[in-house]
């Protein structure tokens, strides 16, 4: 089976709608097919990977820790649009520390989040075979 480049585009905040959770579930299912998977976070999508999410008070499952498991499925390209962060007064420090272990480099921990400009993200999107939007 040939490998295709899959991009999951995340544009919605978590909890208010079901899009963020649905996207993450599809990513996890798709990860089993050993494709070249990337995620990007645009607009309110950047809120999905914000640190310190505590959902006890709203009676919903906090699914943000699941993002930390993506590295184990070789999903380690998480593009975050810089302009979207800035519009929301956020920086990389406000996002979870998401990493993956590079088995070709003595299992060194490397960051999964790649902060990119809109222009850079446009290039990445242009390279994809399949774009799935949430």
């Amino acid at each position: 089976m040939s490998t295709k480049k899959f991009m999951y585009v995340n544009r919605k905040a978590p909890y208010g709608t079901v899009y963020a959770l649905e996207s993450l579930e599809v990513v996890l299912i798709g990860a089993a097919f050993e494709q070249d998977v990337s995620l990007c976070f645009i607009g309110d999508g950047v809120y999905q990977i914000a640190k310190n999410q505590k959902t006890d008070g709203i009676g919903m499952k906090n699914f943000s820790p699941t993002f930390k498991a993506l590295g184990d499925y070789e999903v380690n390209k998480l593009y975050v649009e810089k302009e979207s962060l800035e519009a929301r007064g956020l920086t990389l420090d406000d996002l979870m520390d998401l990493t993956w272990e590079d088995e070709d480099d003595d299992y060194a921990e490397k960051p999964s989040i790649r902060l990119v400009s809109s222009a850079e993200l446009a290039e990445v999107l242009d390279e994809q075979d399949v774009v799935l939007s949430f």
Binding site: K12, A13, P14, Y15, G16, T17, G43, D44, Y47, A50, K51, N52, Q53, K54, T55, D56, G57, I58, M60, N62, S64, A87, R88, G89, D94
Partner: protein, 102 residues
């Protein structure tokens, strides 16, 4: 007549908050809930609009919805009061009507 307005959509995604601000009468209360809480955060592209509107209406934000989304109370715009669910109930009691900007 005083009205409690609730806004549950992110100001980045919908115009619910700006419409509410435009149409809320002086002395109204505006409570930000669910994804609406992002409108309460300082340092965003919408903070100035909200700060301006605070001269007309009193603003509240629901604490459990802030916490769920990882947004610290420390970064809520000064003057916006964080309330819990019983505070939400109190607000509905204090006002004659409630308008939800869905």
């Amino acid at each position: 007549m005083s009205t409690l307005h609730t806004v549950n959509k992110s100001p980045f995604e919908r115009d619910s908050l700006s419409s509410c601000i435009r149409l809320a009468k002086k002395g109204s209360a505006i409570l930000l809930i669910e994804d609406g809480i992002f409108g309460a955060m300082a340092g965003t592209d919408h903070s100035a609009m909200v700060q301006d509107a605070m001269q007309n209406a009193s603003f509240y934000v629901l604490g459990p919805d802030l916490a769920a989304r990882g947004m610290s109370e420390d970064r809520v715009i000064d003057g916006i009061q964080v309330v819990d669910y019983s505070g939400f109930v109190d607000l509905t009691k204090q006002h004659d009507t409630c308008q939800s900007w869905l």
